[in-house]
Symmetry: C2
């Protein structure tokens, strides 16, 4: 799957913020760690702000910092914050009414994929930002 890496970048961002406990860190400094453009970072930070995970501060000496404790932020929370909770997609072609399989297949597949997504979700919920930092250190 041509999955994007926004959840990974979000995890990186939040880890950097967690490491600099309670300081306001600029998007430029974070971008230095991720090795990308500050605007890319700010775009993801905006989603994390909407989700109540970080708070930002405009103006000189501004930046972002965590609102929640690192152990209360999981990879799943980041996925939800970015609207990336779906791992599988069902084709969206309208069903052929003449074919019984066609009429029910998408619904059936949806259930199967949903259970796989729940399994992955349970695993993502087990990994907190605190765990990531501990592993890195």
């Amino acid at each position: 799957m041509a999955a994007n890496s926004r959840v990974a970048v979000a995890a990186h961002i939040v880890s950097v913020l967690a490491a600099k406990c309670d300081e306001f860190v600029s998007s430029q400094a974070i971008a230095g760690s991720v090795n990308t453009n500050p605007v890319v970072i700010r775009h993801i930070l905006a989603a994390l702000t909407r989700a109540g995970i970080v708070v930002s501060h405009e103006g000189k000496a501004g930046g972002s910092k965590l609102v929640k404790c690192p152990e209360d932020i999981t990879l799943w929370d980041l996925s939800v914050a970015l609207g990336e909770e779906h791992l599988f997609a069902v084709h969206k072609n309208p069903p052929n009414p003449k074919c019984a399989i066609s009429c029910r297949m998408k619904e059936t597949l949806g259930k199967a994929f949903a259970s796989a997504e729940r399994a992955a979700q349970a695993q993502l919920k087990k990994v907190s930002v605190k765990d990531l930092l501990a592993e890195v250190a």
Copy 2:
């Protein structure tokens, strides 16, 4: 995640073949059920053929049929056949050597994502084409 729907289409294809037990079904007939173009079907069928899941037959009265029993084909087998086993991606920016987090983050995230993928994989392995057909019927 901008997930594609090729695994879903593959599942649809294989279900149609399983329903028409041991007949050779043309890509056009399958396309009629999926409601798409025959070439799209043939492209996926090519991958399934390489994986030894179906066999095709050129010429008039040609088509494709299953090689394996429906209960021995799982959604995971289809994912592997299409090279779609990865659900998550880590950003590929080179790490910033001045930042300890940056140097280890990608590796750490890779492990976390791998465990989530394994969980989803285990679930996909539980669903066979026979199960899909039973659910549809």
